[in-house]
């Protein structure tokens, strides 16, 4: 760890943003988070500082693609070869990482490059892994995601949709697993996000800066303390950070046991229908998020409260609206809807 980051557990307020991030860590298949918000509201800080609290995971030792040995169906070609030769895959416990995709990234570094000559000459695969390989099993963070070049966005969309990164050059192809938690932050003043990319994000939150003086004071006070002595500040919050990590790990373990009864299913469907959302993705995402929420609280049964807690994160960016109709996601309407269920 080179530069110390402001501890995640010490961020004041921004509960929705924190929740959205944590739920994705519990269940990466939720599909990531888009954080929209005013400038200077600690969006990037929050995402980057996740590095301190991310849980541990299993990975094949020495594998550049971070393959998960417990997922035989999702191995990279190298690990597959080993398995087919009857070799054992050595597993190591590594901490999940925040992998950053800088705006200046070029295509070849995002998807990785295929050394065609080497393949033609030797018949052996030679692939130089890119960001999408690093991101496998980790969290992929794009700051100012709305400013990313279109051709890079396309690469991301493909991987995010399939969980696999396909690289094809000159008729030679290579693919490796690339499943990651996609987290993007953006300031809407700088331009809109392409709808295709927007749909990709499982959850979305809007961060607002308007807060009371007291809260603002607290934000500033904490930041000041951190800036003056980052080591000491981080040390003071170590216990709390570790506690959160273990809560996340427990939730991840508990997740497969979490179930929802028919009432909950009905409630979810009713809600998405009420808000006029097409497609099943919203239903599925809401269910996953509700389960993750229950797991975070150590429960194995999804409650109405879980649904209530995750609905504002799942619905707003999916509401089929024509451009320029107010994106007024009405919380009261949500309450009414929940009440009626």
């Amino acid at each position: 760890m080179d530069k110390l980051l402001f501890p995640f557990v010490s961020i004041v307020g921004q509960e929705e943003m924190k929740k959205a991030l944590l739920l994705n860590i519990v269940d990466p298949s939720i599909g990531g988070v888009l954080i929209k918000g005013e400038k200077g509201t600690a969006k990037s800080t929050a995402v980057r500082s996740l590095a301190q609290i991310l849980p541990w995971r299993n990975s094949v030792e020495g594998c550049a693609f971070n393959c998960d040995p417990s997922m035989p169906g999702r191995l990279c070609p190298y690990c597959k070869d080993k398995v087919s030769l009857g070799e054992e895959l050595d597993s190591v416990n590594v901490r999940m990482r925040v992998v950053e995709l800088p705006l200046s990234a070029t295509e070849d570094r995002v998807s990785g490059t295929l050394d065609i000559e080497h393949i033609l000459k030797t018949g052996e695969r030679k692939f130089d892994p890119g960001v999408l390989a690093q991101a496998n099993g980790n969290l992929l963070y794009i700051d100012e995601v709305n400013l990313l070049d279109d051709h890079i966005v396309d690469l991301l969309l493909d991987s995010a949709a399939m969980g696999v990164n396909y690289v094809e050059r000159e008729g030679v192809s290579f693919s490796h697993p690339s499943r990651f938690i996609l987290v993007g932050t953006m300031n809407p003043e700088e331009g809109d996000l392409r709808p295709q990319l927007l749909d990709r994000f499982g959850l979305s939150v809007e961060v607002k800066g308007d807060r009371g003086t007291e809260e603002r004071m607290e934000v500033v006070r904490r930041r000041l303390k951190f800036d003056i002595d980052p080591e000491d500040y981080t040390e003071r919050h170590r216990g709390e950070s570790e506690e959160l990590t273990s809560r996340l790990s427990k939730a991840r373990e508990l997740l497969p046991e979490v179930s929802a009864d028919d009432d909950i299913l009905r409630a979810i469907v009713k809600m998405t229908t009420h808000f006029g959302i097409d497609g099943h993705r919203a239903d599925i995402t809401m269910m996953k998020a509700a389960k993750a929420n229950a797991a975070m609280e150590g429960r194995t049964a999804v409650s109405k409260e879980d649904v209530e807690a995750v609905a504002p994160l799942t619905l707003p960016h999916r509401m089929r609206r024509r451009p320029f109709e107010e994106e007024a996601f009405d919380k009261e309407e949500l309450d009414r809807c929940l009440q009626s269920i």
Binding site: K39, S104, T106, H118, R223
Partner: protein, 641 residues
């Protein structure tokens, strides 16, 4: 600026520039201040000051040229080394060289937006993450960024402005004595450079040791809770978004205290620091109570007049439910922060709070569908890939625009990026059989250029929000029309800006942006009420567009004026408002900017003011009344095409 000597003018020999000097000193003392912005016209010694700061801090000043490529700035491949050892080898960028030094960007508002954002991000994060052309690296970049902007150029986006901890205005001394003294010092410096530097050596040395001492004190400097709350209140008062302003203020105040040899921040430190840390983040144009009162009276008269002129036809009264009068807050007053001489122009973030109790906020009225451009023979003659999409035509022959990046070609490669192609081929040279050429390039090495898209069109809507449009909800119709056009731009990804005029000024509500959604919010927030300063509005729009079109070559610009054309606030108090406006309109002529007038007048008695206005502007003319369904959009489009 020609007077930059190798050694540079000593810091203390620079006259005036109090705020920029203060900001720079703060950044030299407090490493938590990473970015300093200096605003000033050309010739206000911004560059000289930055060099002097380097000498003072005994640090090299690393310059970022405006035509810098991402390659040069962040780093890329070292071709020579890569050819030699057959492995992609990194060539570190300017930001690497800036580590531990001072980074200087002149006219940062002319730098590519994405590059500027990435650059400031690297400085604020102290590191560069590189994923380019076979190179994957991360390296530290601890530096102080000093950037300048010339207010005559395009404005810096608020997003980018906020990334500057401190911002100071370089004010060129106006009085004759100071100007003479500046000239004298410059001449002296040129003639006897060494002597001149020697002359200021003692002073500069003293300042240097003061900085050193301050750095030592800084660690013990404290700020009371009371002052902390003052700071927070200040930033709430100027409605600064986010917390960067608060923190910058604290850090600057601490540096000022330390420079003064104190370990306790005082109120005075806070006040001094506020002027350089909050000014560029303020979000409201504060209005003094007297002025507000004056305006209210004016408006009352105005309204009465309108009622005389336009008898109520009994169908819809002014107080229709469609309009929601909202009262503004009364506690705005003047902030304790002094206003800079340099006006940044009307604030784009002017909010509903700025309304007086007589203002009316109209909802967006009826909108109309826009015909399908995408399949019409629309103005996509320019091939601007106006639809951001993955299926951008590969056969795009558009080789105009700045070469910003390279990519792997989709289909047949036309606009080959030679440098990137060579870099792609470099790692393989050792293994490839040498042909007749020095470098053997295979088809998979080919890279094509990504060019900065000439961004199509920019449309500035100049909306009349005066009281006369409050009659019979006219404003709702106007907003509806603007929204329909905004929606049109959304599809095309044109840039749209909004300027509204009423009372005695024109205000930029929204700088041209591609975020049309943002335009929607701003549009709904435009209050209506007051007189019609048409002449002023024309001048403001003209000035803005003249500047804008110059800094955005290749872009087609339109100004859509939506008004009834009945001016009643002249610039010259003795002039007739209408005649003056027509006169100004006839004088307006910017190449590459087209004017369109939408007549918003209503009622049985037709005035032909707007039509005349269109004639004087040599622009096209449409009636808002004819707009129903999609007629206006079609009409406007016919012109734009």
């Amino acid at each position: 600026m020609s007077a930059i000597h190798m050694n540079g003018l000593p810091f203390n020999a620079i006259l005036g520039m109090e705020d920029p000097k203060k900001a720079i000193l703060c950044s030299l003392v407090n490493p938590r201040i990473r970015t300093v912005l200096i605003t000033g016209c050309s010739g206000s010694a911004k560059t000289v000051l930055s060099r002097a700061a380097g000498v003072l801090a005994d640090k090299e000043v690393v310059n970022v040229p405006l035509n810098v490529t991402e390659e040069q700035l962040f780093g890329g491949m070292d071709i020579e080394a890569t050819l030699k050892n057959g492995n992609p080898t990194i060539q570190k960028g300017i930001l690497h060289r800036a580590n531990g030094k001072i980074l200087y960007v002149d006219d940062i508002n002319l730098l590519d937006q994405k590059v500027a954002i990435s650059l400031t991000d690297c400085v604020l994060e102290n590191r560069v993450v590189l994923e380019r052309e076979g190179i994957s690296a991360e390296y530290p970049c601890e530096t102080t960024l000093i950037a300048t902007i010339n207010p005559e150029g395009p404005e810096l986006s608020t997003h980018l402005t906020d990334r500057f901890d401190l911002c100071a205005y370089a004010i060129f001394p106006e009085d004759e004595d100071s100007r003479k003294e500046i000239l004298r010092r410059n001449a002296e410096f040129q003639k006897r450079t060494d002597d001149f530097i020697e002359l200021y050596k003692a002073e500069d040395d003293a300042l240097r040791s003061k900085i050193e001492k301050a750095k030592a004190i800084l660690g013990f400097t404290e700020i009371s809770d009371g002052l902390l709350s003052v700071i927070v209140e200040l930033s709430v008062k100027v409605s600064a978004e986010g917390f960067r302003g608060d923190l910058a203020l604290i850090n600057a105040a601490m540096a000022l205290a330390a420079l003064d040899g104190r370990d306790e921040v005082t109120r005075k430190d806070v006040e001094e620091a506020a002027s350089i840390s909050l000014m560029h983040r303020r979000n409201n144009n504060h209005e003094s109570p007297e002025r507000k009162e004056k305006r209210q009276n004016e408006q009352d008269e105005d309204r009465e007049k309108h009622e005389d002129r336009e008898p109520d036809e009994g169908e819809e009264s002014c107080k229709d439910e469609g309009q929601r009068p909202e009262t503004g807050e009364d506690d705005e007053g003047e902030g304790p922060v002094k206003q800079p001489d340099k006006d940044e122009g009307p604030n784009p973030e002017e909010s509903v709070e700025g309304m007086t109790s007589d203002d009316v906020l109209f909802e967006i009225g009826k909108q109309f569908e826009v015909i399908d451009y995408l399949h019409g023979t629309s103005r996509r003659v320019r091939k601007t890939t106006s639809r951001k999409g993955r299926r951008a035509p590969a056969e795009s022959l558009d080789t105009t625009g700045r070469y910003t990046n390279s990519r792997i070609p989709e289909g047949k490669a036309r606009d080959i990026a030679f440098d990137a192609t060579v870099r792609a081929a470099a790692p393989y040279q050792r293994s490839r059989a040498p042909g007749n050429l020095m470098i053997s390039i295979n088809s998979q090495d080919i890279r094509v250029k990504v060019r900065e898209r000439p961004s199509g069109s920019t449309i500035l809507f100049l909306v009349d929000a005066s009281g006369s449009l409050g009659v019979r909800k006219r404003m709702s119709a106007v907003k509806g029309a603007v929204l329909s056009m905004l929606r049109d731009s959304y599809v095309k990804r044109d840039k749209v800006g909004l300027m509204a005029f009423r009372r005695d000024s024109a205000e930029m509500i929204l700088q041209p942006t591609r975020s049309a959604e943002y335009g929607y919010v701003k549009l709904s927030e435009i209050p209506t009420g007051g007189k019609t300063p048409l002449a002023e509005a024309l001048i403001s729009a003209n000035t803005f567009m003249a500047r804008y079109s110059r800094s955005h070559p290749g872009e087609i610009c339109y100004v859509v004026v939506i008004t009834d054309g009945r001016a009643n606030v002249p610039i010259d108090p003795n002039a007739d408002a209408n005649e003056e406006a027509m006169k100004i309109a006839s004088d307006i002529s910017i190449p590459d900017v087209e004017w369109i007038v939408v007549d918003a007048s209503s009622g049985y008695i037709r005035f032909d003011n707007a039509e005349k206005l269109a004639m004087e502007l040599e622009g096209s003319y449409f009636k808002l009344d004819d707009l129903d369904s999609d007629r206006i959009a079609e009409g406007v489009r016919a012109i734009i095409r």
